[in-house]
Symmetry: C2
Subunit: 379 residues, 2 copies
């Protein structure tokens, strides 16, 4: 129940597409989430009875953390979402399998969230629920899913523990697959916990580059296809099809967080920039201002979506990652080192801004954009 909240309404100028128009109605989900969060919080006492303790600050964060004595255990389950619908359609159009990238996306959803709390991911479990046994009969597609899953585990250096491959005719639509990943890790030593206790004015904001849309905003991206005469085969720049660009796999950020710890860079806080776009920079409850002075280049596919959906910069940065897939908050004197470590891992990175005292707000100065704390309600 760590994800929630209302994206902003899209402005009412003709041709603009909002999330609600794309079929996601957050207001129908939220009351359930509130009830679930309350019920879930009440169960923490069971850990105490076993001699352990919940890290209370992890409730509402991206992964749940339990103090088991010598270290903390973190765990999470994350859904891929609807990106497979793009892969299915592109496979139909091009006859190529896209599920290696989809596998990486699914693991990224879990691992990139788990590492925000300072955890080293240890084990990934696969959840592949197909609409029927026939899904698995397409050997090329199935093998690309397996290979991509393994490759992503290798990049993140996690063990693939096992998983479930149910055939759920009547629940999952025929020909479709519902993909998710569960991940368990440890925070060791406990000092690696990065729930924001050390987040403070003066910290630097380091942004890590995204590869494209990653796995959030796909409902909008799919809705947009209906407006394109060539659909997914539209060239968004010479030689790059819209469908292929959408299917660029999500960057796996755990090599960066592991390398940072090894290099002696403590992370004060981290935010996985998924749904709600850059508003995720406002995730921590502390009253702090976030000033961004450097904006990463926008991947072609996100620039294209913004233009085609006629989204304002406010909508685009408030909904999509716009080139920044992950944010790290570190001591200012370690900001450049953080960038260097990320780049050494092959991940583009920028010292993008700083944390300052003041009302909770995000200022993206080069674009003249301002979001307040009220623009993000995740808890």
């Amino acid at each position: 129940m760590s994800q929630a909240a209302h994206p902003p309404e899209a402005p009412d100028h003709s041709g603009a597409l909002s999330y609600e128009q794309a079929g996601v109605q957050y207001d129908l989900i939220d009351p359930l989430k509130v009830a679930a969060q309350r019920a879930a919080a009440s169960t923490a006492r069971h850990l105490v009875a076993k001699g352990h303790a919940e890290i209370e600050g992890s409730r509402g964060e991206s992964a749940y953390v339990v103090d088991v004595g010598p270290f903390h255990v973190a765990s999470i389950v994350e859904c891929l979402g609807t990106k497979t619908l793009v892969a299915d359609e592109m496979q139909r159009l091009t006859r190529k399998p896209y599920f290696a990238g989809i596998a990486q996306d699914t693991i990224a959803m879990a691992v990139n969230d788990l590492i925000t709390v300072g955890a080293t991911p240890l084990v990934v479990q696969a959840y592949w629920a197909a609409g029927g046994s026939a899904w698995f009969a397409d050997q090329a597609r199935a093998q690309s899913l397996v290979q991509g899953w393994k490759d992503a585990c290798d990049v993140c250096r996690v063990a693939w523990g096992g998983g479930e491959t149910p055939a759920l005719a009547g629940i999952v639509e025929e020909g479709r697959i519902d993909l998710a990943a569960a991940c368990t890790g440890i925070v060791n030593p406990k000092a690696r916990l990065s729930l924001g206790d050390d987040l403070a004015a003066g910290d630097a904001i380091v942004l890590l580059g995204s590869s494209g849309i990653h796995a959030n905003g796909l409902s909008l991206a799919r809705k947009l296809v209906e407006r394109l005469p060539q659909g997914y085969l539209t060239e968004i720049e010479p030689g790059l099809l819209y469908g292929d660009a959408l299917l660029a796999p999500t960057v796996l950020y755990s090599p960066v967080t592991e390398a940072l710890w090894a290099a002696g860079v403590p992370v004060h806080y981290a935010a996985n920039i998924t749904g709600h776009g850059w508003r995720k920079l406002l995730r921590h409850p502390k009253a702090l201002s976030y000033r961004v002075h450097t904006v990463p280049p926008v991947p072609a596919v996100l620039r294209f979506i913004q233009q085609q959906a006629k989204m304002s910069d406010e909508d685009a940065y408030g909904t999509l990652n716009m080139g920044a897939g992950f944010a790290l908050f570190v001591a200012a004197d370690l900001a450049q080192k953080t960038v260097d470590v990320a780049k050494a891992c092959g991940v583009p990175a920028w010292v993008a801004g700083e944390v300052s005292a003041g009302a909770k707000a995000l200022h993206i100065e080069p674009l003249g954009l301002h979001f307040s704390g009220a623009d993000l309600q995740l808890r």
Copy 2:
């Protein structure tokens, strides 16, 4: 990838229903599982690089176990399956919400598997993927899911860490929900690990009672409805509707395994009796014979299914739990104590048989049934 294999073909007498006829085609899934298992096994080296180690014997068992030093960490993700289709139909017929029981079923799928390795479950994560936001608009149903989930966590004394509630229009069918649970636990002390190293001739087999069909065999149970003029409203005994009987929630067995450890009863091995019915007693790879001398009473709903589907005892016991939802293998002199501990937890239990030397086989003596090791291929 811990679950797999082919159920036996149903005998070819008229009117008999087999799993294949009910729509589950295992032969289309298996090649993928083999590829996935191989790929997964190759990732264990990443744990070693981090100073940890896979417990190799847990591959192919019901949960994956990692030695993290002071204790082991176990993790799993499990799907409920298609039991929600019965709940949906019964809600339509009776206007009552059934999702509290469904929540318990889902948690049972994960927790009852996790405990087989000797783990104490610590954290459950919820995976509730709906066919659209509208699923959550039925407040009574949604609240019963939340309440049932919390209640099951309370019974198992696990913390509900959080989860995902995606709305997956286009992947999950409209009006349906795909439910799964991820569970993380610890094996502490390490001596609690129950992967069968101590399983030996002379051990006793203790069976724990089931509440009915639990969450395996539902495809068959649903197929059968088409033959019943009253469908789910058929009285299978006075005052008990088929639909209500099917929806009896799965027994949660973790209170028993926790109580056994507290009472000083080491479990040599444990098997969660789910798909493949009593053939799960043959789960451990050791060449041992299992002689059952006492068969628990068969719940009315399973007796009804066997009769209506014209299943032989061999098919019924080889596919369904037939009243035994969980098996414990313990030292013979602790068998009665095991039964007493289970009963003190409110779970019916029987000293049902014994392990003996000999070729891998299960003999259910009161019924004259014999299964060989070849009848169960889970790895």
